[in-house]
């Protein structure tokens, strides 16, 4: 080969050299930015542990009280789905490969539970609860059921059953307090749906009953298990946002289901529903299918937006900030869209003041617009957007980050920190594109990291507390704060005035 040939073959070697040079320059620049921000923020890369359930763990015998919409979800999260539900998931999976509800359910760990008894005052749901409870093998209608658990017609009878260790309560709001109190007195451990109570008075009584009878209590705010909230808590504790002075949380829905206009079951009638038991401590009313299936629309049984949806937002922030009960609450709103005879508002704004923490929390909700406004936590140095991922942006007016913004290390247009559950290596900087996807929950949903239902984790934490004496994250003290906060919001709305919390006497004034 001639020398000329060799030179011509290797003509692009200088390009390779230039590429390598530029590549390392770019990498070093990115590393410089990332490390600078990472050192400045000092946020850990820890993710919560996931412990498998041991087969040696003590079997816990559960009583299911209420098998409506939420009751079905809770039973499923505990590992017991009705065979027709499994049929539906299987069918869904056949029709749409994206539908992984069936696969997901089969992957869900078994919690070593037995459904020992069920109670629902609507016959159809009562029977379905039995069938779900007997479906330990997680099969469809063509599968085999174990022996059906006993169905009780009243919760009192279920609670008297000595073979039941613990109860999951998914009754309407006005029954949460009375059933919790009775369950505690019967020595049963309690997982109760939110809100903890329907009236202020019950709130004291539930707390007293739980503490006196020493049972394990978990309130159903499964958001406690959300990885992003745990990360947000760490970020705020480390002062990344500076002095937080305003929190904005919101609810936006815009469909009949979201506004609690649920379907009415065709089997439902005065013959199949124990109406008197439904009414309980609520004001008497003639039999009404609307009221039975859509009870969330009436103050007579419901706690409205405040108890139903504000509480999830409040509990998330209480978990992150340790807010406690607010100093004051003011609310306004009305029934502006769903003029269907309901008494609870469909638009609600509530403002809570936390004088000790020097911050306000604003809750704003509508059931008739889908404009998603998310959760925003505002501090002097940075603000956080919190959904399934955590995103932190430096504030242009920040004193802490001023120097780094001035010399180009921090760009207030780009997040200084993002966290999406399921990613192992948490990076301070991600590209705007991946950021865009992460915020919409489009990313990583098919990667190897296991996705786990938060309600399943929340029940699991409760069972661990029963078995090993650990603590529940949504324990009775936290639940007390949640209920009082919701009641303050409701009272402020109903009485159209500021209401205040007296921390010494523990009363709303």
């Amino acid at each position: 080969m001639e020398r000329r040939d060799l030179l011509k073959s290797l003509v692009s070697l200088p390009v390779v050299g230039a590429f390598g040079f530029e590549w390392f320059r770019k990498r070093n620049h990115e590393k410089y930015l990332t490390e600078n921000i990472r050192n400045e923020l000092n946020i850990s890369t820890d993710t919560p542990e996931y412990k498998p359930v041991s087969k040696d763990d003590k079997l816990i015998r559960i009583g299911l009280i209420g098998y409506g919409i939420r009751g079905k979800d809770l039973a499923k999260a505990a590992g017991f789905a009705h065979p027709t539900m499994i049929d539906e998931w299987k069918k869904g999976a056949l029709e749409n490969k994206d539908d992984d509800r069936y696969e997901h359910f089969l992957e869900q760990d078994s919690l070593n539970l037995q459904i020992a008894g069920v109670c629902d005052i609507f016959d159809t749901y009562g029977r379905m609860a039995q069938e779900a409870g007997a479906n330990a093998l997680r099969q469809g209608t063509d599968g085999k059921l174990n022996q059906l658990p006993k169905r009780y017609l009243t919760h009192q009878e279920l609670l008297a059953d000595p073979t039941i260790d613990a109860v999951i309560i998914a009754a309407p709001d006005h029954w949460h307090g009375p059933i919790s109190i009775a369950a505690a007195k019967a020595g049963k451990h309690i997982y109760c749906e939110k809100p903890m109570t329907w009236t202020v008075e019950e709130t004291y009584e539930v707390r007293k009953a739980i503490k006196e009878n020493n049972v394990v209590f978990q309130l159903g705010h499964q958001g406690r298990q959300n990885e992003s909230y745990l990360k947000a808590k760490e970020i705020i504790a480390k002062g990344v946002l500076g002095k937080v002075n305003l929190i904005e949380v919101t609810t936006n829905r815009n469909d009949p289901n979201g506004a609690w206009v649920y379907p009415i079951h065709p089997d439902a009638s005065p013959q199949t529903i124990d109406w008197n038991q439904f009414i309980g401590q609520a004001p008497p009313h003639e039999f009404s299918l609307e009221r039975f299936f859509r009870w969330r629309c009436w103050w007579d049984y419901s706690t409205g937006l405040s108890g139903d949806l504000l509480t999830h937002e409040y509990d998330a922030m209480n978990q992150i900030f340790g807010l406690g009960i607010p100093h004051s609450a003011a609310s306004s709103g009305g029934i502006y869209y769903f003029k269907d005879g309901r008494t609870v508002p469909d638009v609600l704004q509530t403002v809570f003041e936390y004088r000790d923490l020097d911050l306000s929390m604003v809750y704003s909700a509508t059931l008739a617009s889908n404009l998603s406004r998310g959760r925003k936590i505002m501090g002097h140095d940075a603000y956080m957007e919190l959904d399934n991922s955590v995103t932190v942006y430096a504030d242009r007016g920040s004193t802490r980050y001023k120097e780094k913004m001035d010399n180009g290390i921090i760009d207030p247009e780009l997040p200084i920190y993002t966290y999406t559950p399921g990613i192992k290596n948490v990076d301070a900087i991600t590209s705007p594109t991946s950021q865009y996807f992460a915020g919409r929950g489009l990313m990583y949903s098919y990667r190897s990291g296991r996705r786990i239902d938060t309600t399943h984790l929340h029940i699991r934490e409760w069972l661990d507390a029963i078995r090993f004496g650990t603590k529940t994250s949504c324990n009775i003290d936290v639940a007390f704060e949640e209920a009082m906060t919701a009641h303050m919001g409701t009272k402020a709305y109903k009485e159209n005035r500021h209401v205040y919390w007296d921390p010494v006497k523990e009363i709303i004034v």
Binding site: S9, V16, K97, D427
Partner: protein, 160 residues
């Protein structure tokens, strides 16, 4: 090859520039442990949407294969084009990859994407242009003139 010097020069420059782009796109993905094509695929539109969203992105095993092929395809094509080696395979593979990118996000009337594009496109976008440019490189090969293939396979014979 009867090209003039400037024809050869610009053809080689085009080949190397496209190679540089491919190599960098591949290395960036390789260097980011969290990179996945899932986001891009899930955002697909057009008549092959179902294929990209369900067949590729919807299957975790398939996704791993796609990610692997994508990363190493980009890197190897890039190296091939820069060095001028296995140029024909590199061109064809490159055209195929670009065609897949184009077809998953075609800039057709009425289709919308989660990620806004950095420019304004109607039917023709930069992916399509890069694809056509690669076709040009394919039909006007320079690898046996200025490239490692001259060393491996010998210089191109001038046609009479």
């Amino acid at each position: 090859m009867n090209y003039s010097f400037s024809q050869k020069f610009w053809l080689v420059a085009l080949r190397i520039a496209i190679g540089w782009h491919f190599l960098y796109e591949g290395l960036v993905k390789l260097a980011n442990a969290n990179w996945s094509s899932a986001g891009y695929l899930l955002d697909s539109e057009g008549f092959l949407k179902d294929f990209f969203v369900n067949t590729l992105a919807g299957n975790p095993n398939m996704l791993q294969v796609i990610d692997f092929i994508n990363i190493w395809g980009l890197i190897l094509i890039g190296i091939g084009l820069i060095l001028g080696t296995f140029e024909r395979i590199a061109c064809i593979s490159g055209i195929l990859l670009l065609a897949l990118y184009y077809l998953s996000h075609p800039p057709f009337v009425g289709l919308k994407y989660a990620v806004p594009s950095e420019g304004s496109y109607l039917v023709v976008n930069k992916i399509l242009i890069e694809m056509i440019a690669l076709a040009v490189v394919y039909v006007f090969p320079t690898n046996r003139e200025f490239g490692l293939d001259r060393f491996i396979f010998g210089p191109a014979k001038n046609k009479k």
